[in-house]
Amino acid sequence: MTMSQVPVSYRVSERQDETHDTVTLTLEPAGAPLESSKPGQFMMLYAFGVGEVPVSVSGPPGAAGLTHTIRAVGAVSRALCSAAPGQAVGVRGPFGTSWHESDAFGQDLLVIGGGIGLAPLRPAVLAALREPGRYRHITVLIGARSPAELVFAAEYERWRDSGATVEVTVDRADAGWHGHVSVVTQLVGPSGLDPRRTLALICGPEVMMRLTAQTLLAAGMTASQIRVSLERNMQCGVGECGHCQFGPLLLCRDGPVVSYHAAAPLLSIREL
């Protein structure tokens, strides 16, 4: 047991429905706040009496409160998604590695998110858009299964106004959809990728990240210019429970953000 294993009490101050099963919660500390997080890091969120799960920070870095975007898939995530304003949520963290999007200063920043995978990328996008002049281009490519599954959809226009190129595609269109219908990898070609001067940040389902990375490699990027965020079972967040083993990496400590150079050979091993 470490002191960092006792959840700190926060309160839901705001909730925003993103999709039919995904909610963005803003949390304010009930007492002293935890250390602020860097883009890509995650927190362990505790629903009182139900359990605790890892959830990425999806809000702007440096904010006093904490923002998380959570998809209801099981007992704990459902309890968190149904939390009403005022309700207490326990928080531990921040844990793990960050995107280090600023490594792309002077170059192109390419952010690619699939589904709820856009949540951990949002802090990097917001951080970059605070100082767009330091990047050549900021491009955000977003894929979702359907238009109704897009998260942060209300913000894309604001990101464009702040200087980003934002392209959105869905696997299946609905009646009101006039945008792209394709897998997200097909947005890479038209995005004007300069393979020698780009840093790519990818988050989404594991297959999506592999296919996207392969597309970027085929376009001439190297694996060290690509970063992915990986998911494994996590229970402690501090490198002592062993659940997040991924070959040589402990993903709560050496991840979740990992260079594709390290991740690619590991992702190709079945049941690692």
Binding site: M1, M3, V6, A88, V238, C241, E271
Partner: protein
């Protein structure tokens, strides 16, 4: 690593009868004294109310999947190899409460970390392999990485009486792993047991100021060169009497490229994925947490228990377990223990104690599995 070049200060001789005084003086200093004891046909680690409870005259016969006590011709107290338990059960308990919380009237909650027991522990009879195992767990759970942990606070007050190994068992291979049979650093006192016709004495060396302070109350005389030679010879001979060997060089690289080896399927056809090996192993540290509430729902607790990478739930994510086949779980255990442990914690995770061989119900032998992988993939001995 056995650090036999270290200077250790003077060595002393303690008659076997003097163990009683050592035990009692540790008790008087406020320690709960824990050591090996015969219970239900095995030598286990328990609190000792007197030194008489040590397993004088008991030895063991070990085999893959086999453990038997036997009477010895002499009265040796520490000539019995590793038993089913290890010191991790005291430093990293099998089940422990992490914190409790209750709802407050304003709809929030307040949480408190569970009170750590302030018992000071003294371990008597820590074998060199197990001494190294404690240091390996320190690397994972201790002060370097978790300065405020209950592990670190428990660990900081432990007094260690180590014993050099003079009689390795059939499943031992500490020499291969560089952890024994002579104890490396990290003990407060180090004993070497000398038995012979009409003689039962211990060579005693102090390894810390606390250890030196304990010497004051003991019936000691300076060790004569003859006794020192006997002690050194018996430990050196022990190095040549290991029941098993493992070629540990290059294992990290070998295992990193072993993922498609045919041997994994072979071992998986025998392995029951019971997890006994992980429970018995003195370095395996994995845990799972469980969140519970009382009937009112206003009081919640979190408990932590030992977990095993052989459990199907261990790697569960939304779509199911990442490692669903037995093959992938045995591979995870072995590649972590002997390979990626180096990447994560800077050393091997195996100390060569042999417990996983003895306590495997189907007798899977880690040294045999490694040799088979080396033969299949081209290990260090392939070039010899």
């Amino acid at each position: 690593m056995s650090a036999d070049s270290e200077s250790r200060g003077p060595a002393w001789l303690l008659p076997a009868s003097g163990l009683a005084r050592l035990h009692d003086s540790l008790r008087e200093a406020g320690y709960q004294v824990i050591g090996p004891r015969v219970v239900n046909g095995a030598i286990v680690l328990r609190e000792l109310s007197s030194a008489d409870e040590l397993p004088f005259g008991w030895g063991v016969t070990l085999a893959p999947g086999g453990y038997r006590l036997r009477r010895r011709a002499d009265h040796a107290a520490f000539a019995h190899s590793a038993g089913p338990g290890s010191w991790k059960q005291f430093l990293h308990p099998p089940r422990e409460q992490l914190w409790s919380a209750h709802r407050t009237p304003d709809g929030g909650y307040s949480a408190d970390s569970a009170a750590a027991s302030d018992a000071k522990l003294a371990f008597i009879g820590v074998r060199p392999c197990d001494l190294r195992a404690i240091q390996i767990q320190d690397q994972v759970l201790g002060a370097p990485t978790h300065p405020d942990s209950t592990y670190a606070s428990r660990r900081s007050s432990v007094f260690i009486v180590a014993v050099n190994c003079t009689e390795p068992g059939e499943t031992c291979f500490c020499t291969s792993m560089g952890t024994g049979p002579r104890a490396g650093r990290g003990y407060d006192l180090l004993l070497t047991e000398l038995t012979g016709p009409g003689d039962h004495t211990f060579v005693v060396e102090a390894g810390s100021a606390a250890g030196e302070a304990t010497l004051a109350g003991l019936d000691l005389r300076p060790a004569d060169p003859g006794a020192m030679r006997r002690a050194q010879a018996s430990v050196s001979e022990a190095a040549g009497k290991m029941g098993r060997t493992m070629h540990a060089d290059g294992l990290r690289d070998l295992l990193a490229r072993s993922h498609d080896a045919a041997r994994w399927e072979d071992v998986a056809s025998r392995c029951l994925t019971c997890g006994n090996c992980t429970m018995a192993c003195p370095t395996c540290f994995c845990t799972t947490v469980e969140d519970v509430t009382d009937l009112s729902g206003d009081h919640a607790e979190r408990w932590q228990s030992w977990a095993s990478c052989f459990d199907l739930d261990f790697s569960y994510v939304h779509s199911g377990p990442v490692r669903s086949s037995g093959e992938s779980r045995y591979r995870q255990w072995l590649t972590h223990k002997l390979g990626t442990w180096h990447d994560q914690f800077g050393s091997s995770g195996c100390v060569g104690c042999g417990r996983c061989i003895v306590w495997c119900p189907v007798g899977i032998d880690i040294t045999e599995e490694v040799a088979a992988l080396q033969a299949e993939l081209g290990g260090p001995e392939a070039g010899e």
